[in-house]
Structures are given as C-alpha cells and as structure tokens.
Symmetry: D2
C-alpha cells in the first residue's frame, strides 16, 4: 500500500535491462553515443515533429533548463501556485534564471484563461514590474487533472499574444497521454507548447527526463546551460539507454496505463466508502481524497503510506471538514491490484 509518490517506484524490467547493458559496455562520453541519437529519433517520431532533445537526470533540472531558454532580465513566469517549480525545487527557477514566478488561479490545477489574462495585465506594466517571459503548465496538474489540447491552446494563445514562451512540466506526461487519448503532438506543439520536460523517472525509469524542444534556436544554448548545472553527464548513455527502452514500442504508455488504471480502481473504492470521498475526479494516477480521521488512522495503522495535502486555495467541495483530512494517493506502474484491494478493504473498516 505504497501511495506516497510514483517516484518511490522501481525501474521497469525493460528499462533496467537496457540500463544494465549500456552500463556494462561503456562508450563515448558526453552524448556522443548511439543511445542518445536513437532517443532523438524516437521522440521525433512520437511527436511527429523535428525535435532537439537534451536528456537530463531530474525533473528539477529539466524544468529549470527549459525555463532558462525563455529567461530575460526582470522576467516573470506564470504558473500554478502549487506547481513543482514554485514549491518543490528550492528556488531553482529564481536562482538559475533570475525570474520570478507569479501564481495564476486554477481549477484542479488547470490555469484559468481569464485568470492568466488578469495576471499578465497586472504584471506587464513597465520596467518596475518586470516583463512576462513564460507560461509554465503542468501535465498532469499537481491536483491530478489532465489538460485537453483545446485547454492548452487557449492558454498558449494568451502567452503568444504577449511574446511569452510556453514550458510544459511533463513529469506525468505519459499519464496525461494515456488519460486523454490525445496524441503527444496534440498535447504539445500543436497546442502551442515550445518546450516539454518529458518525465521518465516517475514512470518506470531510474533517473531519466528529456527536455524536448519543438522548433529550433534554443538548443545550442541549452547544452551550455545543462553543462554548467552538471547535467551534461559524461556517461550520458546511462540516461539515454533508459529513455530508449522507455519509449520503444509504446512501453511508456503501457506503464502509464497501468498506473492510471490502478488510480481509477482506487477512486472507485473511495467513492464506494461511506468514510471517504473524492476531492477531485482523477484523470491519471493521482487521487485526491477526503478521509474521515478514523479511516485515515485505520489505513496508516495497516501500513498504507501516503501524504496529507494542503487544501489552501481549494474550492469548498474539495476541502476537508472537521474530523476529515485531505490526502494524496499516487499509483505507479508498479502498483498492484492487490495493493488497491488491501486499501479498499481497510477503508471499508
């Protein structure tokens, strides 16, 4: 009953096997290897577009580098208040880009176009305020929702109007593709996304993320930016080999579908319980639930692992009442039906 985070999961056997093969062999350093080249080819095919790809070792690295491509003096990045870049990266964006992150109101983590327009208007008033430089979206959102292509396009159109770049934090992009059924292309460049931080780590890799740049120009500078934060690894094939196996034959989507299915099972169990309810309807592999204190205690006593979540800024119906607690339950490709069943059993008392 490990629902703390999908980053507690192990590596999928196919990914692990590719990593082990590459690691035993070694090869030319700093990305001059065959794996790195193959990954770029795979991503071009998957996204139906020419891409520049920079493999890195963590989501924080991927996000901060992607945003650095849009950074300008006095830059303002618009994002959700609970976005990973705003709350979980120890100020990486401020440190590496000098930019400031401005929160935008949202529904289940999806930014509201009206709120984005307001926020831009409030922060584009001249040299004192700084200048809007980037819109940063999270797919799946921090609250478990999947953006639809049209929702993305509505937001990026606003960004475009103000000359801003668009970054997508795709730590759970695979889960969003699996959830929406939309194509990777429709969820990114066709909807106006300039750079995607494509996650692998949470979904079957050990440590593997890819910065995917649609449209040229920024690639060369990103290589320098990557080098100076130490993500231009000498044995770069250790990431590329993971990504190669991860992306081959739709393995990444298969893993995400499993995780999503387990989350759906979990959601059903919660809905069926008189001592629990959903805070949000989950689209992917994150379930936000409101538990009665007794149920929460019972589950934890039985060894279930998950985090309590802050309800700050959430609507009434997603906020716990007295004697209740808001929790986040995350499934992964490794979550078993048995784990979910055990959870459901304990939940029902």
């Amino acid at each position: 009953m490990l629902f703390a985070s999908d980053n507690w999961s192990g590596a999928s056997p196919r990914v692990l096997s590719a990593l082990a093969t590459a690691a035993a062999a070694g090869g030319p350093a700093y990305g001059a290897d065959a794996w790195t080249k193959k990954v770029e080819g795979r991503l071009a095919e998957i996204f139906e577009h020419e891409v520049t790809v920079l493999p890195v070792g963590s989501g924080t690295a991927a996000n901060t580098l992607a945003l650095s491509a849009f950074a300008r003096p006095g830059g303002i990045v618009f994002a959700h208040a609970q976005a990973h870049i705003a709350t979980d990266e120890a100020g990486a964006t401020e440190f590496a880009t000098g930019c400031k992150i401005e929160p935008v109101r949202a529904s289940q983590g999806k930014l509201l176009p009206g709120a984005l327009a307001e926020a831009i208007a409030a922060h584009g008033g001249g040299v004192h305020h700084g200048q809007p430089v980037a819109l940063s979206l999270v797919q799946l959102t921090e609250l478990g929702a999947a953006y639809q292509p049209a929702e993305i396009a509505a937001l990026t159109a606003l960004a475009r109007r103000y000359g801003m770049g668009v970054h997508m934090d795709g730590a759970r992009f695979a889960n969003a593709v699996a959830a929406t059924g939309a194509s990777p292309a429709d969820l990114t460049w066709r909807a106006g996304v300039d750079i995607l931080a494509l996650g692998g780590t949470k979904n079957g890799c050990v440590a593997a993320e890819a910065i995917v740049v649609f449209g040229g120009g920024v690639g060369r500078d990103l290589a320098f930016s990557r080098q100076r934060i130490g993500h231009g690894f000498s044995k770069a094939w250790f990431i590329a080999a993971q990504l190669d196996a991860y992306l081959a034959d739709g393995h990444w989507l298969e893993l995400a579908r499993t995780a999503n299915a387990r989350a759906a099972d979990l959601a059903r169990a919660i809905e069926a319980s008189p001592q629990a309810r959903l805070a949000f309807r989950p689209d992917g592999n994150e379930v936000f639930a409101i538990l009665e204190a007794g149920a929460d205690r019972r589950l934890r006593d039985a060894g279930a692992v998950y985090y309590a979540w802050s309800a700050a800024g959430l609507p009434m119906e997603s906020t716990p009442g007295a004697g209740e607690v808001l929790v986040r339950l995350v499934t992964s490709w490794q979550t078993t039906a048995a784990e979910v069943a055990a959870f459901a059993l304990r939940l029902s008392g």
Copy 2:
C-alpha cells in the same frame, strides 16, 4: 586501445549489480533510503572522521556545490589554469557562485606554494579586486601527478592564513590514494582539506560522486544548493547503491590499482620506444606522452583512441618539438593488459 578518458569505461560488475538490485526495488525518495545512510557510514570509516555526505550525479555538480559552500560576494577561487572547474564546466563556478577563478602557476598541475602566495597577495587588495574565498586542488592533477600529504598541507596552510576554504576535486582521488599509499584521511582533512568531491564515475560507477564535508556547518545549506541544480534526485538510491558497492571492501581502491598499473605499463612502453617519450612521469592513470607524428598516425590508424593535449604553459621538456605531438592517454579499471600490449606493439612500428 581506448585511452580517450576513464569516463568512457563501463560500470564494474559489483557496482552494476548493486544498482540493478536497488533499481528493481525502489524505495523512499530523496535520500530517505537505507543505501544513502550506509554510504555515509562507510565514508566516515574510510576517512576516520565524522562526515556529511551529499551524493550527486556528476563531478561538475560536486565541484560547483562544494565551492558554493565557500562563496562570498566578490569571491576569488585559486586553482590551476587547466583545472576542470576552469576549463570544462562551462562556467559553472562563475554562474553558481558569482566567484571568479584565478589561475596559479604549477608543476605538473601541482600548485606551487610560492605562486599561490603571490596570487593571493595580488588579489586581496580591497573591495575592487574581490576577496580570496577558496583554494581548489585537483587530485590526481590534470597532468597526472598525485599530491603528497605534505604538499597539500603546505598549500592549505596558506589558504587558512587568509581565511579561505579548501576544496579538493577528487575525480581521480582513488587513483591518488592507490598511487601515494597515503590514507584518505592524510590526503584530505589531516592535510587541511574542508570538502572533497569524491569521484566514482571515472572509476567503475555509472554516475556517482560524493561531496564529503569534513567538519560541520555547511551541510544544511548544501542540501538546498543541491536541490536547486536538480541533483537532489528523487530516486537518490540509484547513486547511493553505486557508492555503497564501490566503497565496500576496498573495491574502489582495487579498481584504481588496476587502472594505475595499466598506466605504468603504458609508460614503460613509451619509455622503451625511440619514437616517443614521457612528458611527465605518471603517478596514477593518466599518461602524458610526446609522440613522433609517424607513431601518432600509426597508432590512430590501428584504432587507438586518445586526445591530443595543449602544451600551453608547460615547461620546455614537456613540450613537443617540430614533428611531434603531445597526447594524453588515460587508463581505467577496464583497460586490459592486451590493450596496452597492442598499443606498445604499434608504437614500436
């Protein structure tokens, strides 16, 4: 005949096996795992000292973070002109710490105490110049020499006198321990080193370095600095598991001894050849040789891989003449006696 760099090598079977075991299992994220704890214990024992350990994924990350612990406004870091931090990290130190790197004259990469004293005197003259904050040593040096404990102590004493911190870039620290026979403690804190960037990647790991802090205080801030350059990996056990196997039962020194022995064989072959000579006597696993152009061509035609090296700043006897070329040959734990023999054969024509 791969002598390009030890970072072309694969992972040692013991390291790889530990990595695979950890990767299959997964576990608590962000360093709250059992491997990370074990590594700290091992390093305390190896260095005979309490240590704070921060595993990271690359040498550039380890170096820049270690130096950030000493950074102050207008800071000046003294180092060898060819130090990795000066020439191979795309300005990571300048970017992350705002400090400037000031070159110090050296002999086979070992800084000369007199030259260090001069450099400090020339750059400590007040608010315009900036303030000396750190001394950065490389062990093995960029030119293949191993510092003896007394040589380190002579330099760190100068640093101490000016209130500077001391960083050691130990990308090839294992090779230096193997070469000198001195204890890890004698080569670091007992000789005045404050923070060691201990390398694993070049010597049998896939991507694993450890920032080893002797003496307290800076540990807490380093964790934040690490997080914001994306080296606070969620699946931190993927590095810790490598380091654990690397450090267990003296495996790291065993690997280094092999690499050093192969380099010694290589050096002998070069000395024996009428068409080649040593630019420096190698202490560890890096051999700098001056080859006649014909020998160089012959070796490359036969598939030998190695880099030509700049002779800028080197003494007369280490500088190639007309029709000669200076090259660097690096061995690793994976280099075989057969490879060296093949090289020797081609060299002799």
Copy 3:
C-alpha cells in the same frame, strides 16, 4: 498639485548646497572622504548604536543589498505582496540573491503576526520548499501606515525564532519617525531590525540612501556586494554630502514633518468632501482615497497629478464601488499649502 510621488520632488536647499560644495571640490575616491566618515558618526548618534553604514544611490540598491546579507541557498523572504521589493524592482531580489519572495497577509500594509507565522510554517518544510531567511518590513508601509515599535517587535520575534534576519525598507522612514514620535532606535534595532535601508531620495535628497547595519559581521561582505552592482561610486562624497546635510540638525525630520502635515491637510479635505472618502487613515505622507469618477475627472482636468491604485487584496471598506476609483496621493517636503488648497477646492466641485 503634484501628488504622483515624493520622488518627483527636488532637493532641499540645504542638501543641494552641500552637494554643490562637495562636487566643486572633489576628493579621495571610493568613500575615503571626510563626508562619508561624518555620516557614519551622525547615524550612530541618531540611532544610539554602533552602526556600519553603506551609502548607495537608490532604494532598490539599498534593499537588494540589505537582503543579500541574509541570503542563503533556497532562501525565502517574507514580505507584503505590494512591497517595493516584490513589485517595483524588476526582480532585483530574485536576481541578486536567488531568493524567492513569499507574500504575507497584512492590514494597511502592516504584516499580521498570525499570517506571518502561518506563512513561515507553510514554507519551512524541508529541502524542497526552501528555507526562510529574512523578514522584510516597509516603514511607512506601501499603504501609508506607520508601524509602532511593539508591532515591529511582534513580527521580528517570529523571525528570530526561525533564525531569520530582519530588513526594513525605510524609503519613508523619516515620515514614520515623524508620524509615530518614536525614536529611530525604538523603531529599528530595539524592535529587532537588523538592517535598515534608510531613504533620503524621497525626502529632500537627489539620490541618497544609506544601508544602516546594526550589529557587525555583514559589513565587509556588503562592501563587495555594493561594488559589484556599481553602487560603490568613485565620487562617493556626492551621496555622503547629501546625507550629511540631510541628517544634520534634524533636517530630515523637519522635511518629513512638512510632508506629513500636508498629507493630513489633504486627508481632511477628502473627509470633508461628499464625493470622496479615505480608503485608509494616513499616518505619514501617503493618502489613499476613493474618489467619485466625476471628482477624479475634475481634478485631473485641473492638472492634478496622481496615480490610480490597485485595490487587489484590500478589505471591503477600502475598495472602490461602481463609479469610484482608488487613488494614491503623495505629498513631499516641497508640497505647498497652496497646492493642497487648490486640490481641496477642485474636489469640492
């Protein structure tokens, strides 16, 4: 009827005369002049405390440097959402310190201790969030209120408990001293303030601010930080001479008292008008008023200059209704009774 900002004002004759005298003479560069020494003496006397003083040319420089003294990796600075550092300095704090500014709820710009406690609690949760490093107060607040010593002490006690430094943006500190009648010492170090950015520019100087450090240690580093943003002026006496005349014989408070008195007159005129009301009761030289659209138009047609102000986050009673507008009116030492009378006349229709 210039009420746009006190930074539209000219220099007071005494300040201007001192500046001219110094400027004609010249003298030793970079602060080795007699004026700079005198200013430090004056401030020690005024604040009844040993101080380190760094004159700079602008409030943005003073604030960013003061905060840099507290900066640590992943640092979080707590401040009012409309604080100058948050909205008017083009991201200077993020750029120069890498820290992030976290907004705290307030009443008329005075931070609420309960809200500060909550904000710290929400942002001190470990390496992902970052670490609280500084509390930044504005005196007068952005909304025209003056903190009383006890109010400051209640906030700084919280900061102290979490090991944070305390910065006070005193762009209108003179107005606050004049408004509260409290001593400079009671409003700063006795109430727990570590560094004050003492304003001169808005209150009779041309370009002169002083970073006043209570308690040692940080002074030396600040000199380097100042140098590298170009506020270590060669002809440093041009600032010191202004400050010297500004601080002599209570001139600074005399100027502030005039500005405050004019604001009080203005407030009375607004209260007396049926077409206007005060959004807040002004303590110093900033008046926030809600005008009927007709009155606003009449005033502007007559040449009155002032800014409309955002009501975002303000309480109901300070928020304009339909057909109303919130405006800020700032008086200065140069504002005349005649200007206020003319304003009152137009306001009454």
Copy 4:
C-alpha cells in the same frame, strides 16, 4: 599635485550648474523627464547614428549592463588582463552575467589581433569550455594608449566572425577622441563597436555615465537589467542633467583636451629628468613612468599623490629595475599647469 586618479576631481562648473538647476526643480521620475530626452538627442548627433541611451551612475554599472546584453550560458568575454571589468569591479561581470573573462595579450593595453584569434580558438571548443560571447575593449586602455579606428576594426572583425558582440569601456572615451582626433563614430560603430559605456564621471561630472547602444534590439532588456541593479534612479534627471551639460557645445572634449595637455606636460617633464623615464608614451591623460626611488620619495614628501603600478606582464622596457618604481600619474580637467610645474620642480631634485 593630485595625480591619483581623474575620479578624484570635482565637477566642472557647467555640469554642476546644470545639476543644481535640475535638483532644485525636481520632475517626473524614472527618466520621463526632459533632460533624459535631450541627452539621447545630443548623443545621436555626436555619434551620427540612431542610439538607445541608458544613463547610469557608475562605470561598473555601465560595463556590467553593456556586457549583460551579450551574455549567454557558458559565455566567455575576451578582455585585457588589467581591464577594469577584470580587476576593479569585484566580479560584477561574473556575478551579473555568469560569464567568465578570458585575458588576451596586449601592447600598452591594446589587444593584439593575433592573440585574440588564439584565445578565441582555445576557448571555443565545445560545450565544456563555454562559448565566446563578447569582446571588451577599453578606450583609453588601462595603460594610457588610445586605439585608432583601424586597430578597433581589426579586433571587432574577429569578434564578428565568431558571432560575438563588442563592448567598449569608454571611461576615458573623451580623452581618446581628443587624443586621436578621430570622430566618435569612427571610434565606435563604424569600427564595429555595438555598445559603448561612455564615461562622464572622470571628466567633469559627479556621477554620470551613459550606455550608448548602436543598433536596436537590446535596449528594452537593458532597461530591466538596469532597474534590478538599482541604476534606474527615480530622480533620473540628476544624471541626465549632468550629461546634457557635459555633452553640450563640445564641453566634454574641451575638458578632455585640458587633461590630455597636462599629461603631455607631465610626460615632457619626466623625459627631461635624469631620474625618471616614461614606461609608455601617453596618448591621453594617463602617464606611466619609472621613477628612481629617490625621486619617488622626494615627490611624495612634497605631497604628490599617485599610485604605484604593477609591472606584471609588461615588456622589459616598461619594467622598473632595481631601485626603481613604476607609477601611474593621471591628470584631469582640473589639473593645473602649476601642479605640473611643481611636480617637475620636485622631480628635478
């Protein structure tokens, strides 16, 4: 006998009068004043080119901002080892741009095209080294020479070939114009300079420098960069008024001609003395001389003020022998013939 630096000088009466007039009046803040507009017009005329002008308060600010316009990740700036940006700005360039400064060999401070070509070649080798982004020239050089237009063009052509921007530190640009007789246009944009930091402070202003941008694009971002280092002054007219008077009617060149003439007198006195010789033939207002120890002592005893200078890197003939000292003597618009005569008298014993 004040020859320490031209930044010890006072303000010229015309500049001071303009400053006083502006300071008494006040006016719209942040550059929306009439003076700022006038300065842009004057500079367009003087440089025979459309220009974007950003007045700032110090040379360090002007240089670091100008270079920030060219900054890219891993950026390398090529400059003289004794350039102000390399030795006198407390690491402002490294701090604000993250770039590293690479020294280039020179003759009397003028970079040698061959040496520049070598330096670029040595530092353009890929992602590890970083990327060449800017060439920074100093006019007058740190050693008192004036570049001729053709000399500038030869260097900027190299910069252009590698896609680098060109910055000129013109702290003593007026002296160079006066020395060469070349037009401001010929010495800048016609010779390939992109951004000039035009000095006023050393030549009759109190604190006034102008960033002069030839060719568009970078202007808007510079305004943000300037704001966040606190050089977007609220009372921006205090700089603009100085520059306006400084540039009117050729006053700036008149001042520079006086300073240069005094330096020429000084040089003649040195050449005439058996106890002194010129280290370099001066072009402008900086005289580098080698004095016998006795003469040096006699002059200092008589109250002469000047700095000893480092001979590091200088050619044989400019290096002091035993019992000699290298000194720098700087004249300004305020230096009198009597001061020079007194110096000559003491020098002759």
